[in-house]
Symmetry: C2
Subunit: 163 residues, 2 copies
């Protein structure tokens, strides 16, 4: 069980887009450059984020991406589901209905206790991710992992990269 | 992101082993038969459960499996980690250290805010799974998905299968 690295990339890049001024955008190439990511793999994740209504893509060959809504309205859960799909991690295949002592449909009117327990656990996980927004990440990262030199480098890069 | 079906199988079969009387066991073949599972795939999961101290395997070609401890002392988290491995689902690859505005080691003394948020969510998930034991599953399944006919079929199968 593993969350794909596309989720890590997507959250980081939504954080970058969250500080781009209104009316400006960053191309897929620039977004890949920012964390030195493989642009072909990244492209499909950016498309998934667009389909999920998290990013807006400008049309045209030089088109860029921007957040489709405020950073405070995009949660880590939104991004995770956009990249990973919304199916639950535990997928009950109803094996209780198989074998020499298979449960009848009548005995299966309750959801399987095992599936139920995993669903509750996943609800906790989703709630936790839904409580953290891109704006929260930007705020924490700005105070914890940007020293003065990095802040300046980021501002210079951004001024040059946005369009 | 998907929990392998081996976890579903393992929890179900720990539930079956949880009602086998002390001193008795079920072979891998019988365990596969119970839910009509592919015995080759199942075998490696049974071995993983043994390595994790959840099952005890009797030696010999006709050796069977039994729970290594009481059903009330085995949680869904124990089983999940035994099958899936104990690595967290979100694996931070520290991409903040890559690219033209890479964070210096000094700026990375705090764990990345993104990794931190996913870690907290996974802690919630693990706590929920750690709160449910095989004994709980047996109790709920017995009351919800075993009607009288299935209970009898199960008892007959078990009497014949244990050794």
């Amino acid at each position: 069980m593993r969350i794909s690295e596309g989720v890590e990339w997507a959250v980081h890049l939504c954080g970058v887009l969250g500080v781009v001024r209104d009316g400006y955008s960053l191309t897929a190439g620039r977004l890949a450059e920012f964390h030195d990511l493989p642009s072909d793999y990244l492209a499909k994740h950016l498309q998934a984020l667009s389909r999920a209504g998290i990013l807006t893509a400008n049309r045209g060959v030089s088109g860029g991406y921007r957040l489709a809504k405020p950073a405070r309205s995009i949660t880590l859960l939104d991004i995770t589901l956009a990249i990973e799909g919304s199916e639950p991690a535990f997928r009950c295949t109803e094996i209780r209905r198989q074998g020499p002592c298979a449960a009848t449909p009548a005995a299966c009117k309750h959801i399987c206790a095992i599936a139920q327990a995993f669903m509750l656990a996943e609800t906790q996980w989703r709630k936790a991710l839904a409580s953290v927004t891109v704006a929260d990440i930007i705020r924490t990262a700005a105070s914890e992992s940007f020293d003065r030199a990095r802040r300046q480098a980021f501002q210079d890069w951004l001024n040059n990269a946005v369009k």
